[in-house]
């Protein structure tokens, strides 16, 4: 394939850059910066080639590269993108050069190491977004951790040591349990099919765990992702890490690292353990709404601007979690879109705070005021980004928040409890968001200049304008013309929903075979390893054909009806007396009677139009 070079190249380029930068003499700080910026910019340009090769009509993984890596483990170096990860990859390559450029002045000690850490961080993030092998994903996931630890710990603020260690311990604790779940899947897949693999696509296709196992596996994956998001009671590492991190680190942290939580849910936890997801979704959705409102309240009370923006992240990412667990195509697309927009706007806000901090060495709201007169260009840019973050229609934040809230509103109450109430509560979060963001803007920009030090502030330099310009442009573009983004997500999101529901049906099938307890079924399964596989094939095959043309008048009501039908207890396929080993029976394609994923997708699509 002609396109196979792209993903390895964007992974390799920053890595080579990092190694080269470490070889530059320590005194050549300028050269190191130039190298870092050059390599990250080149990575961005090459990542645009993904857009060229990417077929947005196609929901499966594209630009796939699959190389054998560890034969003993049967782990592969397998990478690829689909509509869900595509824009996150671009966001990563887009943000990194901006972050490096923004740190030209702010970072003046250990410049070489700083650049190397940023580039390795980029490798880790890109790798985790494109990895299609669980083992590979885990490696990249952990690789992100160490450079971030150094970014906070070396170039951070006063309490940097506390913040950095807290960040690492929180993240590690979650991700190690995820590793246990990966072992579990690996062992199960090996026991059932006879083939040991960590390939994500194979695991997703062939491995149907019992509901109980899915419950625990989802918990293990979910904990890792919920800490990363961060979801409400697990968020306490975030304000510390943000406040202590240098500006560039905050930009990466808020703009990109937090996205891995949501991405992990969509990519791994939900499609692999739909039954677990269904069991946990009510709790997670409620926590998301609590996070939205709590984050907004706490943000409003912060005297430190950076902490304010940090808490606003807790609030904004609550929307993303809510949208994902609503399990409507709209909610999920909205969630991905909100992630992209949050990456731009919150990254932009942190950059703006960094600009002020470089000039005044303080971040207290009370220290500012009346800056509009002193720094008109800065104020204008800051205003656009603030409004984008607050969700003003026409700017990027609005689309994502609107889609998630609407997606939640029309969600079936089988996936989350009282969807309309949750949507309404989340909508109040938008209002609070506008309140604290505008309050912040007003405190800093309007009114008389109360501090003498503010009278001598210089407006943005050329380099700083170059940092902000792409962000502002994208905030406008994504607000006005979301079509190309949503269009390329759609097939992947539809495919995600199909696999989710197919697998859910398979899980039910497997667990509640009449007359056979789950335990017996498991025993049969382990005594007769090959038995499950042929039975699962038809189910997977049935979901493959192209979508039926969507009925034009399908509306939210239709969608709910479909969803209700899908989640109602399945009619048993075989009413015949229970066979001694029921799993051995090839009971025909179970999908047909239990759920019609095509109808469901059609309904969702109709609702979106």
């Amino acid at each position: 394939m002609a396109s196979a070079w792209v993903l390895p190249t964007i992974l390799g380029l920053p890595l080579i850059g990092a190694i080269l930068v470490m070889l530059i003499p320590r005194s050549e700080a300028g050269l190191a910066r130039g190298f870092g910026f050059g390599f990250s910019l080149a990575t961005f340009c090459i990542s645009l080639a993904i857009l060229g090769y990417f077929d947005s009509e196609y929901g499966r993984f594209q630009l796939v590269v699959d190389k054998e890596w560890i034969p003993g483990l049967n782990a592969h170096f397998k990478v690829g993108v689909d509509g869900i990860s595509l824009w996150l990859v671009i966001l990563t390559t887009f943000t990194t050069p901006i972050a490096i450029l923004s740190a030209y002045r702010a970072v003046d000690k250990h410049v070489r190491e700083f650049i190397a850490a940023m580039l390795i961080l980029e490798v880790g993030m890109l790798g985790a977004f494109v990895a299609l092998d669980m083992f590979l994903f885990y490696i990249f996931w952990e690789v992100m951790l160490i450079p971030m630890y150094f970014l906070i710990g070396i170039w951070g603020g006063k309490r940097r040591i506390y913040a950095s260690i807290k960040f690492v311990i929180y993240t590690m604790a979650g991700s190690l349990l995820m590793l246990v779940a990966i072992f579990y899947m690996y062992a199960k897949h090996g026991a059932i099919t006879g083939e040991y693999t960590t390939d994500f696509v194979a695991l997703q296709k062939n491995l149907v765990l019992s509901s109980e196992a899915q419950f625990w596996c989802f918990a293990a994956f979910g904990l890792a992702f919920a800490i990363k998001v961060p979801l409400f009671p697990l968020h306490t590492w975030l304000p510390d890490a943000h406040v202590e991190a240098p500006t560039a680190g905050s930009v990466i942290l808020a703009g990109l690292l937090l996205k891995f939580g949501i991405y992990g849910f969509i990519r791994f936890a939900m499609p692999m353990f739909p039954a677990g997801s269904q069991a946990w979704a009510p709790l997670l959705a409620i926590l998301a709404v609590v996070g939205i409102i709590y984050g907004a309240y706490v943000a409003f009370a912060q005297p430190d601007v950076k902490k304010l923006v940090a808490y606003s992240s807790v609030s904004h990412l609550g929307f993303c979690v809510l949208g994902v667990f609503a399990m409507t195509a709209m909610g999920i697309e909205g969630s991905i879109y909100a992630m992209l927009s949050h990456g731009l706007t919150t990254g932009g806000l942190f950059l703006a705070i960094g600009v002020l901090y470089e000039r005044r060495h303080t971040r207290r709201l009370a220290e500012f005021g009346g800056l509009w007169k002193q720094m008109p260009v800065f104020a204008g840019i800051f205003l656009i980004i603030t409004l984008g973050s607050a969700g003003l229609p026409g700017l990027s934040g609005f689309i994502g928040e609107f889609l998630t809230i609407f997606g939640t509103f029309v969600a079936s109450d089988a996936s989350i409890p009282v969807p309309r109430l949750l949507a309404a509560l989340a909508a109040t979060g938008v209002i609070f968001g506008a309140v604290y963001l505008l309050y912040m803007f007003q405190k800093m920009m309007f009114g008389p200049i109360t501090h003498e030090a503010n009278r001598t502030l210089k407006d943005l330099s050329g380099r700083e304008i170059a940092v902000f310009l792409p962000i502002v442009a994208m905030v406008f573009f994504m607000g006005i013309y979301p079509r190309p983004f949503l269009k390329s997500m759609e097939p992947a999101v539809e495919r995600f929903m199909t696999t989710y529901h197919t697998k859910l049906a398979q899980t039910r099938d497997q667990t509640y075979v009449p007359g056979v307890s789950p335990k017996q079924a498991r025993a049969a399964e382990s005594s007769n390893p090959g038995a499950l596989v042929p039975r699962l094939q038809p189910a997977v095959a049935a979901s493959a054909p192209a979508a039926v043309a969507p009925p034009a008048d399908a509306q939210a009501a239709a969608l709910q009806a479909v969803a209700k039908r899908a989640t109602a207890p399945p009619v048993a396929v075989d009413q015949a007396p229970a066979p001694p080993v029921a799993v051995d029976q090839t009971a025909g394609p179970p999908v047909a009677t239990k759920i019609d994923p095509q109808t469901r997708v059609a309904g969702v699509k109709g609702a979106l139009r």
Binding site: L73, I154, I169
Partner: protein, 494 residues
């Protein structure tokens, strides 16, 4: 059982002979050197260790993968497993000799017998790795242990070292007694001490003296648990590790442990079937499960509070022994091949990493002041970035963070435990990963001190090119083993 002497068989134990002969030569040569000159013996010691490693590699290549292994002199088994450990032991010996010379120079003590004893200890370890008989295993363990006691106290002026050696000696003697008594009981039950014969007897004979056998097996478990310093048989370890000269500590934490695990696998995994050694349905693994859980957890918690980096690494090595025990248990519970591979890989990764870490600790101290506190590492990164980077790699590898060898070793051990016996070890695996998360705190504390703190006083590290070479080799090997572990797994038999 044929134990007729065959001169041709000696070919299979060349590495063993090389080590033994070099050791004896060194003891002889020592009397011809005086004072500082004695450190020239280091060259011979390193050459001997390297020669042993190279011959072991060659023999490894010419030993077919599937062969049961050839019995040499009725006492030693020459198979890939043995050669794998021989290479590992020789590597540790070479590094210890290299670092030991600079260390002795700097701290102004010359001990010529250091090298001779080191090589003889390595000989004992090789015997352990090749043991095909309970008696040869015992001889190997004793040869090793007696030498190690001397090495611990080789810096005679040091009170701490003497105290540590004394403690170690007394405890070790008790362990030896357990071992002997265990061997006697097993012999009483089966009528043989040859491991292959024991296996046959266990498989074929119906009316075994189970009481004797179980008691014997338990005594063997205790004796070996002493040697790998599993909790609650670890009391000697922190003191002995702290009191011994730093290069010797590194040697104790790696080669001693690796060879003890080789015996563990030889005796337990390969000889006693877990199910047939009547003690519950898990046989000898049931006491080991308790030991492993205790070892991982208590050692980790203890390491959290250590200010002395040698003590911290001592506790860390105890907790690593707990992880390796998990692999041994998995091998006993039906996942023999994969789990044995995992333990071998794990020990290799752990050996390279820990040797590197102790080398940095030995390198940092100077004559006036041995820097062994974590705080002594303050600001190392700004003065000696290369050493700090190497130490970071070692700490990350010990903490099990990818892409290092330590991560993959842990991953592979836990994976094999997961596959063994229908997820019966799931809770042990979960306990293991929680412990890994905890351990990250104290490993990163060293990294944090090196990078995030400012230097308090000037560093006056040892000046030796050999140490730089060791650090570079260890760090690169850790990364290579972590990123492309396939080759190493293949060597370990996976």
């Amino acid at each position: 059982m044929t134990s007729t002497f065959n001169a041709f068989d000696l070919m299979y134990i060349i590495p063993l002979l090389v080590l033994a002969v070099t050791g004896l030569l060194l003891v002889l040569a020592e009397s011809f050197f005086k004072g500082r000159q004695r450190n020239h013996l280091m060259g011979l010691a390193v050459a001997g260790a390297i020669a042993a490693a190279v011959t072991a590699m060659i023999l490894f290549r010419y030993t077919p993968d599937d062969e049961q292994g050839r019995l040499v002199l009725g006492m030693l088994k020459a198979d890939r497993f043995a050669y794998f450990f021989t290479v590992l032991i020789s590597f540790a010996t070479a590094v210890t000799a290299l670092v030991g010379a600079s260390y002795q120079d700097e701290h102004n003590w010359q001990s010529g017998e250091f090298y001779g004893i080191l090589l003889l200890v390595a000989t004992g370890m090789t015997v352990m790795a090749m043991a095909a008989d309970l008696v040869s295993a015992f001889i190997g363990i004793e040869t090793m242990s007696l030498g190690i006691y001397v090495l611990v106290t080789s810096r005679r002026q040091s009170l701490r070292g003497t105290e540590a050696a004394m403690k170690y000696f007394v405890m070790g003697a008790v362990a030896s007694a357990f071992m002997l008594y265990g061997i006697a009981l097993v012999y009483g039950a089966t009528g043989t001490t040859n491991l292959d014969s024991i296996e046959k007897v266990l498989a074929n004979v119906q009316d075994l003296q189970l009481g004797l056998l179980v008691a014997g097996v338990f005594l063997l478990v205790i004796a070996l648990a002493f040697k790998v310093a599993a909790i609650p048989f670890h009391m000697w370890a922190p003191d002995a590790y702290e009191g011994a000269p730093t290069p010797v500590t590194g040697f104790m934490a790696t080669a001693v442990k690796a060879s003890a695990f080789a015996v563990f696998i030889r005796i337990f995994v390969n000889t006693f079937e877990a199910e047939s050694t009547a003690f519950g349905h898990m046989g000898w693994t049931s006491p080991l499960i308790v030991l492993a859980a205790l070892t991982m957890t208590i050692a980790n918690v203890a390491a959290l509070r250590q200010e002395n980096i040698k003590r911290m690494l001592a506790y860390s090595s105890i907790s690593h022994a707990g992880v390796a025990l998990v692999g041994v248990i998995a091998a006993g519970l039906g996942n023999r091949e994969a789990a044995t591979t995992a333990v071998m890989y794990y020990l290799a990764a752990y050996t390279v990493t820990t040797l590197g870490a102790f080398t940095v600790v030995a390198w940092l101290g100077s004559r006036d002041r041995e820097r062994v506190l974590v705080d002594d590492f303050s600001g190392l990164a700004s003065r000696h970035p290369g050493a700090a980077l190497a130490m970071t790699v070692f700490m990350l590898s010990l903490g099990g963070i990818p892409p290092t060898a330590g991560f993959f070793g842990k991953f592979y051990v836990f994976k094999s435990a997961m596959e063994a016996s229908d997820q019966a070890l799931l809770w042990l695996v979960i306990l293991g990963v929680i412990n890994s998360a905890v351990s990250i705190y104290y490993y990163l504390r060293v990294v944090m001190t090196m990078y995030f703190r400012d230097p308090v006083e000037e560093f006056k590290p040892l000046r030796a090119g050999a140490i730089t070479v060791v650090l570079v080799i260890c760090a690169l090997a850790i990364l290579e083993m972590g990123i492309l572990p396939g080759f190493w797994l293949g060597l370990a038999g996976g």
